[in-house]
């Protein structure tokens, strides 16, 4: 498959975006970073991303709502939820609404890469993510 894996990262902590951008680029993803749900949703209208990584808790809108919008528009998109606190109810709700997986803060970049690789696998991007990983010292 020639197409590169497109990833949208949404987290209201700017540092998260700043660090994940290069981390995910290294494994061959096209990464777009957003700090607010509004612009991110606008962008999602324009483009169907393969993977959306979103924080669950944000000031303006919570991640569940972002998940709902993404699923409405493109059910194929793999949505990975970043949680600060994973309550059973919220996990169940997110799962029912089509979330691909969860990752709890604090996490290492490699952990997210692993989840993204799994999502890429499920989309048929075999080898794409994994091929990039051996760079890690």
């Amino acid at each position: 498959m020639d197409e590169r894996l497109s990833v949208l990262v949404l987290d209201d902590e700017p540092i998260v975006g700043r660090r994940l951008q290069p981390a995910l680029a290294k494994i061959g993803c096209d990464v777009e970073i957003f700090e607010a749900p509004g612009p991110a949703l606008e962008r999602l209208k324009e483009k169907a991303f393969h993977i959306v990584v979103t924080d669950i808790r944000m000031d303006d809108m919570d991640g569940i709502e972002v998940l709902e919008r993404v699923m409405e528009r493109n059910p194929e998109t793999r949505v990975i939820m970043i949680t600060g606190y994973a309550t059973v109810e919220m996990a169940r709700e997110a799962e029912a609404k089509g979330a691909f997986d969860f990752i709890a803060k604090p996490f290492k970049p490699q952990e997210l890469r692993d989840v993204i690789a799994k999502a890429a696998d499920s989309l048929g991007f075999h080898g794409v993510a994994h091929a990039a990983v051996p760079d890690v010292p």
Partner: protein, 508 residues
Amino acid sequence: MAEPSLTGAPEPGEVSSAEKALLQRPSFGIRARLALGFLAFFLLAAAVTAAAWIMLSRLEVRLKFLEVADRYTLEIQQARRFEKNYFLYGTNLQDVQEHVANARKLLGSSEAEVFKVLSAADLRRMRDHLDRYEALIQSLVEMEKNAPADRAAKQAAVEVEVRAHGSQMVSFAMELSQKERNSVNQTLALFKRLPVAFLIVLLLLVAFIVNFLARQMLGPLSRLMATAQRIATGDFTPITPARKYRDEFSDLAVALNTMMREVAHRQEILVQSHKLRAVGTLTAGVAHELNNPINNIMLTAEMLKEDYTTLSDAERLEMVDDLVGEAGRSQKIVRNLLDFAREGEMETESLDMAELLRRTAGLAANQIKLTGAKILMDIPENLPPVYGDKQSLSQVFLNLLLNALDAVQKGGSVRISAGGGKEDPGYVSVRVSDDGHGIPPHVLPYIFDPFFTTKSKGKGTGLGLSVSLGIVRQHGGDIRVQSSPQEGTTFTVLLPAAMVPGLGERPC
């Protein structure tokens, strides 16, 4: 005492000095006062008894003398009767002599009494008449014995003189009797007035003692009553002496002071334990809040390690700066909570309410995010300062805020507003309003009761509002509540503004 009403537990020095002052006064107990009152009664009764005794004795003497005077008069009258017989029939001269002698004897035996009744001149004249009369009678006796030739003529001459002296004697005797009788009557009249006088004095004494005792007992009682009401509002200022003497009420005051110290101590424990509960609630939120900077540190450190060789110096420096910044952010989050949780003495200081409210809202920032509620702050900058303890007031507002967050639905709002208190001048009012489901009217009267809670078991202690009210009352303020199912609930905290003169100084 500068701000006694603001300190939950009065300082040990303050208490011991109040207690010392209470106990150091000279003792004059209620028992002593009662004894003194009854002693006054006894003394009055004793005085009346003594007066009656003296009067009766005097009356007795008078009556005896009256008897003597009557007998004297009788003797004189008898003598005169026999004298008349003698002049008519020539008999009974012996009897005249006898009765006159009796009269003289009577006069001699009670001369002192007679002297009191008659003047010295009268007494002398009375005596002269008696002497002369006796002498005349004696001369008649001589005449009888010697039977002189001109006896009839001489007798006639003596007869005139005897009659004159005799009548004088009788009138003096009558006067003596009369005067003595008058004197006895006077004494009797005086004696009759004595019970009336006694009754009047008794009435006055009773009125005074009743009044005095009532003041002595009711004064401290009403004072202690006022103290009890004061304690109920959370003011634990020790009782200080108001009077010169110590009595049983002083012991009660000391006991009350001890009780207040204990209650204040317990209140402090209660406040602290409730605070720790609030800390527990906040800790969950703080843990989540800490996840963000820790996550940032984790990501940054990992990427720094991963790309260390490929990164430019500027990029590395930026990442290190991020690390330092996020570590600082974590520290701040933790310190805020620790500041609140710290167990400390109550310290009163001038507080900027706007800052205090902002800090408190900051403490609950995570609960706010979790609830998804909107917080509207409407705090004017020119609020008068409040004199109080930062920690415990922060606890009050945090408690009201957490309650409000519990009440609102997702997407609801909590409004924190403050004002100079137009309805209550001299107070700063802070309102915490929510648009939640309101408090049912039937539980509204009980919400400040300790251990009353509508939250499910294990979620609330039922101490929050009770402790909050205790803290606010200690500051000389009050908490009011308004609630309706449509409009939600508003708690209004009133605290005395620090600019009011004499604030914190409570008359003891």
